[in-house]
Symmetry: C2
Subunit: 133 residues, 2 copies
């Protein structure tokens, strides 16, 4: 494939060979965690409540089985959305507010960077690095 280094890619195919902040920030893992309605409902309840809550407490928010809630919360924690702290037999989950908002803002920045790159690039920008993954 033609390597493009110091020019903006002129086609999507060329763009595929370029790495930009958006490549790291556009993480399907995070979005997969937020793509299920039940999970999002649980997350919203936790977020609005504001304090760490147990699995049982969160399970009262909706009609699904406790085991389902347990799995959803564990998945959200895996994705970096929640933080889990075990205390005896109870587990306290709380929202990683800063983590989430920072990741979202970083992605927003990365997306806007793609627009601004055109101007910067033509003025002698940072170039397009080869894709390494």
């Amino acid at each position: 494939m033609t390597q493009v280094r110091n020019r903006r890619p002129t086609s999507p195919k060329q763009a595929a060979a370029c790495c930009r902040p958006i490549d790291d920030r556009l993480d399907p893992g995070l979005f997969k965690a937020l793509s299920d309605p039940t999970r999002v409902l649980l997350l919203a309840c936790l977020a609005k409540c504001g304090r760490p809550s147990t699995v049982s407490e969160v399970a009262e928010c909706c009609a699904v089985d406790l085991s389902v809630v347990s799995r959803h919360l564990a998945l959200l924690a895996d994705a970096g959305v929640l933080d889990a702290r075990k205390e005896g037999r109870t587990v306290w989950y709380h929202v990683r507010y800063e983590e989430i908002s920072q990741r979202l803002r970083a992605l927003a920045d990365a997306i806007e960077e793609c627009v601004q790159t055109r101007a910067r690039r033509s003025a002698g920008g940072t170039g397009c690095c080869p894709k390494t993954r």
Copy 2:
């Protein structure tokens, strides 16, 4: 269920009855669109390329069938991530940079609002409205 109006919810269950900006901004539809690796790859290529591209062009970015790419792009357009413009037999897709970054920032704001609410609330805040959906 106990309705909580002018206090911060003290449990996730109470929180479920409260509506906040996060309820509207945490839209599973958007995240579902961004949860598939192939779709994210196509989106990144389009974003980095910067100009509107055709289905065929985008399809050169990865090894999946053209029909698959066609479906992915249509889905991303449905989710508000891409904009589609038909011109003769070709369809030009381009990234809605502003739309996406604004939605992400709005969600980041809504998440942080959940943290700040505690202080505002105890000083006589806006209250907790009943859930209407």
